[in-house]
């Protein structure tokens, strides 16, 4: 991605940077020499060199900051400049470590203890890494960048051996002071390794454009190597590593010579394995519905997946950006697919969605974000209004009554942006399937409807389409319920909506909008509890639970589905 503007902008800095590496290297060479023979004239040279390093650092820093104010630079150049700056800071720190080492020599009573340890392997590793820094950064040489990172591992291993020996000697030896000073000296070499790692990571950043930890980078490299995709890291552009709410990281890998792009996902092994298994299950059910798995790599506590990058738009985008006709076509594609999945996976096994239990587990987070949702008992004359928490407690009893007569394979996180539609090819895809399982379909229905509700979109056109889709999806699900004898459909959906509306508020910071969602949730719960009280009174049921059939007359008005 070297452009001519970049070449001009960076040339000046590169000259200074070269000198900086040279000076730091010389300073460390002198340090190495002084460790053998602390001659005063060499020590004086080290101090002078350190001043020069500081000057070079300020010079580079100034140039970098000045360059960054230039608005015409492309992203790649900006990333490079940031990386140069990080590397410069770390090089200067390495020079300081050299000075610190020399400073420690003054505390030694005798050189004998120090000379019992060999610093040369440390210096050899460090010098080798320093030789690669310029190319790793300015030529964006990924393999050199990785080698610099690995230098830290080598230095750490060397340090571990020295540390162990010093500890042993401290237990038995009679020169504890000199041993401790020696440990301090080697500790500075170990920290030099840490700074090298920072430099290596900065060089990777300059190349792939996103902040990537070396471990993640290696995961990507290994996943690519173990996959069906024939790509080498030197041939790909890496885009947009971003963190998801569940703590996994996702990025896009685009081959530079054209060809298939892939999605790279890394996260905790358990989650990644769950997703992999769900994807395989869906692939078996309907090939092509989920993204294909190109690679999987388990590296201990973390694992990564390489997935097909699906071309198309999310259903959410289509609702927001197109018109009623396109949106209608897309909606029909979605419902046809979902109906097929529900029908094919339906098992006549009753399923209790436990919507209120789901609320309970997220309630602490909701109250943390919205403490104002906790309301005291109030009244308007004789009309008593229960505190919100009391209402939630009372509603917990509904879980036992509102049971689905069957279960189907659900998506598990059926937000409208987890549906990818390829309109020209008339294909529907589902993504983010890691929570997929056999369950009450109303879990998906309520999440789908609330994902439309909670979009902070109030422009007439898009809002109308979102609302129309929510209502149509409700009628679609209602049709499925009727066809399969699901008597408590509307009541259960009301509870599912109450759940999703309330738990979603933990992601909604707008006070007015979050309050409207909480109030809607409260309304639905009050309706359900009111209905139950009424039916119990009429049928003389006392405190007994209602059968699904007795919930059949609960009516959920379509106006409750939309803001």
């Amino acid at each position: 991605m070297t452009t001519s503007s970049e070449a001009i902008a960076v040339t000046g800095v590169r000259e200074n940077f070269k000198f900086l590496i040279l000076e730091v290297t010389k300073l460390l060479e002198d340090t190495q020499r002084v460790l053998v023979d602390p001659r005063p004239e060499v020590i004086a040279k080290i101090a002078a060199r350190d001043d020069y390093v500081d000057n070079l650092k300020s010079m580079i820093e100034n140039k970098c900051f000045r360059l960054l104010t230039n608005e015409e630079l492309d992203v790649g150049t900006v990333d490079l400049i940031r990386a140069i700056n990080t590397a410069t800071n770390n090089l200067e720190r390495i020079a300081d470590f050299g000075v610190n080492i020399v400073g420690q020599l003054g505390y030694l009573a005798e050189l004998e203890v120090l000379h019992g340890f060999d610093p040369d392997p440390f210096f050899a590793t460090i010098f080798e890494a320093l030789r690669m820094v310029e190319a790793a950064l300015f030529r964006r040489d990924m393999s050199k960048a990785l080698q610099i990172c690995r230098a830290e591992l080598e230095v750490d291993e060397l340090y571990a051996a020295v540390f162990k020996r010093i500890m042993d000697d401290l237990r038995h030896g009679d020169t504890p002071e000199d041993l401790v000073t020696t440990l301090f000296i080697y500790r500075y070499l170990e920290r030099t390794g840490d700074s090298l790692l920072n430099i290596g990571e900065a060089a990777i950043f300059a190349t792939v454009g996103e902040k990537l930890k070396v471990s993640e980078f290696q995961a990507l490299e290994e996943t690519l190597a173990n996959s069906e995709v024939e790509l080498d890291l030197s041939e790909v552009d890496f885009e947009g590593i971003w963190e998801t709410r569940s703590g996994s990281r996702i990025g896009m890998v685009h081959p530079q010579k054209g060809g298939r792009s892939v999605v790279f996902k890394e996260g905790r092994t358990k989650k990644v394995v769950e997703e992999k298994e769900a994807l395989e299950r869906w692939e078996q059910l309907e090939p092509g519905l989920p993204p294909r798995i190109f690679g999987f790599h388990d590296h201990g506590p973390k694992a990564s997946l390489l997935l097909e990058f699906l071309r198309g738009d999310t259903f959410q985008r289509i609702m927001l950006d197109t018109d009623a006709r396109v949106c209608g076509t897309a909606f029909n594609m979605v419902t046809k697919t979902i109906e097929r999945v529900w029908t094919r996976t339906l098992e006549a096994v009753p399923c209790r969605p436990n919507f209120m239990r789901q609320v309970s587990s997220r309630l602490p987070d909701v109250f943390k974000v919205h403490p104002e949702f906790r309301s005291p008992a109030t009244r308007i004359d004789d009309l008593h209004i229960a505190p919100f928490e009391d209402l939630l407690r009372e509603a917990r009893g509904l879980d036992a009554e509102l049971v689905a007569p069957f279960r189907v394979l659900i998506h598990g996180d059926f937000n409208t942006d987890n549906l990818i539609l390829n309109l020209p090819q008339r294909r529907v895809h589902l993504i983010d399937l890691h929570r997929s399982r056999p369950f009450d379909y109303l879990q998906d229905v309520s999440v789908f409807i609330v994902s439309n509700y909670r979009l902070n979109v109030f422009d007439a056109g898009p809002r109308r389409r979102l609302d129309a889709v929510s209502k149509a999806f409700f009628r679609f699900a209602q049709g499925f319920a009727r066809a399969h004898g699901d008597a408590s459909f509307e009541a259960r959906l009301a509870l599912g909506l109450a759940r999703s509306l309330l738990t979603s508020t933990r992601f909604v910071m707008d006070p007015e909008f979050s309050a409207s969602m909480m109030l809607r949730s409260r309304y639905l719960l009050e309706r359900l509890l009111g209905y139950r009280a009424e039916v119990r009174a009429k049928a003389g049921l006392g405190e007994g639970p209602l059968t699904p059939e007795r919930w059949a007359d609960f009516h959920l008005d379509e106006s409750t589905l939309v803001p």
Partner: protein, 88 residues
Amino acid sequence: MAADDDFRHESVQDRESIVKYLRAVTAGIEKGHIELGAADHLLSLEPEGMLELQVRAKRKGGKVKLAIKVGWRERDEADADALTIKVD
């Protein structure tokens, strides 16, 4: 509830359920005494004398608002003794 002598209630209702709230308010007005608030912070109102009534309706961009506002002046207990007029 915000300030000391302030009560605020917000909820979502349907045509059926809202009536309970309106009835509670009208019943209070009818008997000349209405209590609002939480147990430890009750606002006690005594509507009497001249009650100003304002009914406002507004329709804008598909949203409708119907506001009913009732206001009155509280009788100042000191008022009665403030002025004595003798009629001979």
